[in-house]
């Protein structure tokens, strides 16, 4: 009996070894040979879009998705990609669930199973990191409209293109903005304090702030970090800020910590001449609707603002149609992803001149990559407050820029900088808490 069993085990192990070796050889011979089959139906160009459609960022994902959908709707109703015989763009969605490894798996699925010509996404920098790595591996263009971590374009990728400005560019612009403000009050801003959440984003931003602002001659008097998922109180931190007496407070926060911080600043009556936030929590709908007067006169860096319609005729048109379709306004997220899809469209037109995706998919992807690398779109064709779109050798759009907005007493943000887009004059320095309660 025992012997009998042992023989069974031996046989099983033998089968296993044979199977393993066989499959192994098969797989190994096949490495690199994963050639995508030619797509069945012509006249369609498939684009993969990876977004956090479920999970913690599902609400943001919804916004981003609308931006993409709307752009695709406009492109297709204008007659599709003309150089490809009016082929319609079809979006295949991938859900990152806000997790890096899911993003990678979805990128793979879209490339291999769905045969997309390019990937667009993926909002969070960590997810963009893994998803674009997969794209690089498969030699598929990855167009990123919405991640701001500077490291993304420092990796030397050849298939990665970022449309949005990154945090480094934003910070440089913020320094310019503060210089500009400072001129208005005769150099009243000298001391700067920073408070930031401690994930990759907040930490990077704080590091850049420290570097750029000290380089510009400001004194960094305090840098405070906190762990957003567990923060329950800012009392000690605000007390510390009161002591260090900064003229300007720089903040990088997510939603609930931003709310808690502003409420605490109000309750403890911490006064600084200006507070400048790095969007994120400060421009989220949940923050704007709930912060109340604690959030008045706070500046925030933004990529987009509702009042830009007054300054940009093209945006006005798009915004009205978008509102008719979805019942909500464009915001920084939907506008950037909308722009991303249009940028891709211009590149598709160029690539289609060389080869059609249904003739040779991989060759088309290469053509698309080249088209993106050589692309120039002037600012007046965009709905973003940018000078245009042009990628440098790292794949970063060098013509993008941010704007600075300020929350006024009606609880809405207004653009105050750069002057050519401003709809209001900045309120600066902030009125004191005593003046406000009157």
């Amino acid at each position: 009996m025992v012997l009998h069993m042992q023989r069974k085990v031996l046989v099983a192990v033998a089968i296993m070894v044979v199977a393993v070796v066989a499959v192994g050889i098969a797989l190994f011979l096949g490495v690199g040979g994963v050639e995508e089959r030619v797509m069945g139906q012509p006249k369609v160009i498939k684009v993969g879009v990876i977004l956090p459609l479920t999970g913690r960022l599902a609400e943001t994902g919804e916004d981003l998705k609308r931006g993409i959908e709307f752009a695709v709707y406009q492109i297709n109703s204008m007659g599709g990609v003309k150089n490809c015989g009016g082929a319609k763009i079809v979006v295949v969605w991938g859900d990152s669930q806000a997790r890096p490894e899911r993003g990678a798996a979805e990128a793979e699925r879209l490339i291999v199973e769905e045969h997309v010509v390019a990937l667009v996404g993926a909002y969070q920098s960590a997810v963009t990191k893994t998803a674009s790595e997969v794209a690089e591996r498969y030699r598929v263009p990855f167009l990123n409209p919405d991640s701001t971590s500077p490291t993304l374009t420092e990796r030397g990728y050849k298939w990665f293109f970022r449309i949005t400005p990154h945090d480094g560019m934003f910070v440089k612009q913020q320094v310019e903005f503060v210089n500009w403000l400072n001129k208005r009050c005769g150099g009243c801003i000298k001391r700067i304090a920073i408070i930031h959440e401690d994930s990759e984003w907040g930490t990077n931003v704080a590091r850049l702030w420290e570097k750029e602002f000290s380089a510009a001659g400001y004194e960094i008097v305090d840098v405070i970090s906190y762990h957003a998922p567990t923060v329950t109180s800012f009392d000690a931190e605000v007390e510390r800020l009161k002591r260090s007496k900064p003229d300007l407070l720089l903040v990088a926060s997510y939603v609930h910590d931003a709310l808690l911080l502003m409420k605490t600043i109000k309750a403890k009556k911490l006064y600084v001449k200006a507070i400048l936030a790095q969007d994120a929590g400060f421009v989220s709908p949940a923050y704007v609707s709930q912060v109340g007067d604690a959030g008045w006169f706070v500046f925030s860096r933004e990529v987009f603002n509702w009042d830009l319609v007054q300054k940009m005729p093209r945006l006005k048109e798009v915004e009205e149609e978008y509102r008719r379709m979805y019942g909500v306004s464009l915001n920084g997220n939907s506008a950037r992803d909308y722009t991303g899809m249009w940028v891709l469209y211009y590149a598709l037109e160029e690539a289609c001149k060389i080869v059609k995706p249904w003739e040779d998919l991989q060759k088309f992807r290469e053509a698309l990559r080249d088209a993106l690398a050589n692309l120039y779109i002037p600012g007046d064709k965009l709905i973003m407050p940018w000078k245009g779109v042009k990628f440098d050798e790292k794949g970063q759009n060098i013509l993008g820029q941010g704007i600075i907005v300020q929350m006024m007493e009606d609880g809405k943000y207004y653009t105050v900088y750069p002057p050519e887009y401003a709809t209001r004059e900045p309120v600066f320095p902030m009125p004191s808490w005593e003046e406000r309660s009157r």
């Binding site: 000690a236 709930q290 604690a294």
Partner: protein
Amino acid sequence: MDLTVLASAIVDGLLMGLVYGLVALGLALIWGVMNIINFAHGDYMVLGAYIAVLFSLLGVDAVYALPFAFAVVYLAGVATYKLVIRRILDAPFVSQIAATFALLLLIRYGVELVAGPRTWIVESVLSGSVVRVGPLSIVCSKLFAGIVSIAVFVVVYLFLTRTYTGLAVRAIAQNRSAAMLQGIDVDRVNSIVFGLGVGVAGLAGALVALVQPVFPELGGFYCLVAFVSVVLGGFTSVVGSFLGAIIIGLSESLSAVYISPTLKNAIAFTVFILVLLFRPTGLFGRFGRRV
């Protein structure tokens, strides 16, 4: 760092510690009586917080939500006991962990399913106002939360020491089979204890909603803090856990100022492991044991 910052950190730590104490107290009570670790404890707390959110959405001041938060979560606790906890009282340790962990997932994501993943802020008459004591400014809602915590703690303490049911609870904590022999309806008392334990946490949740924004994962952090407090307090001691929670609150706010806000939880956990190693009976092991 000067004295005002220190004093402010102490006051803040103390007040947050009192709220932590309410969460920890219920955990210790359940643990002491049923010998069950309720991994979902923090999420029952969040239930209470969402009741406060609901009140403010309906336009009622969230302060009035406190008794309702307690009552609703108490009932939820009794139901949980009857449906789940009762069946795992004598189950292997792994099943107990798995079951309460399952409760955690159910409540946390159930809440997210209903209320969405967004962050809510609760307004009340107290929010925004400040009490000034010398150079210190104390946020009113936090002061209120601290005072209510003390009051609730006193009520629970009196319940355990002065009422018949309280005596029964303590008898079961001492020796379950002996209590059963004396004719105590262990099952009924257990259901009360579980309801009370999570109910107090629910009340703490409503208090938390007054002082900080509310979101579905909020409970995880409070639960960990409660565990640490309970360990500090000598495991099953209600009084000890309450004191332990205050220590955690203080150590947190002080380390946030003097070391690093990111590491403040790491410090709490380090304290936790050190206590387990060197004072396995907790800091207040003998004081107020099993009360």
